[in-house]
Subunit: 142 residues, 2 copies
Amino acid sequence: MKKKGSRIERELVNLLWDLQCPAIRVPSSGAATKRPLPDIIAGNGRRYMAIEVKGRKEFPIYLSDDEVNALKEFSASFGAMPFVGFRLDYKEWRFIDVEDLKPTKKGNFKIDEDLMYEKSIDVFELVGVSRQKKLHFLKDPE
Amino acid sequence: MKKKGSRIERELVNLLWDLQCPAIRVPSSGAATKRPLPDIIAGNGRRYMAIEVKGRKEFPIYLSDDEVNALKEFSASFGAMPFVGFRLDYKEWRFIDVEDLKPTKKGNFKIDEDLMYEKSIDVFELVGVSRQKKLHFLKDPE
């Protein structure tokens, strides 16, 4: 689980760099204090994003209340847009604003298929790449 | 040397968090590619900073051409102000804009005592804390 998390985080970091959006995996293991930290921080001079990463086999994807609060707190303080970045096996990356997550009866949060269709965006929308430039990336990736 | 670098980077990260400026040590060891990366990224909603960290016994402090170029490149792309953060043993942290570094005859860059007095700023100026708030932090640190 830990290793899978690292792998999928690295995958997203690489994708963001390819879209000219420098991204960093945030180290957490060495932290002495319990700071609210996202998995990834990214920026491209126009926007800054704090991303909690979820790779899963299927919906729904759950997030704990603590995860959501930490993401909100960090983002507000650092000055970043708070996103959950998720990818199901063999599917594309999708991103959802943390404010759009569905609360569960147990006080946590989830992403299901309906929410994905209603609210999520793709990685081009995330980094603010225009439709024209998106075609450029898709046809002629660097 | 490696360990000392980590320790002094953590020291600066802790100081920035204390000033309500979330900061992250950028992991470099795991990077498969040769990306331009600073030692620390920090932000507080008003400004974003990419920082190359130098802890030394005495002046001058040298930076290689590659270090300086990587810091400039990352900062321009991510959208951050490029700083060298330095601290001599038993002295306070000082910060200098990478554009203010002195070129050496060998094509590298340096910080000497004159440059520190002329151009460097302290950590409160770095994060944009006002004089009044600075007194608050100094008198009553959280």
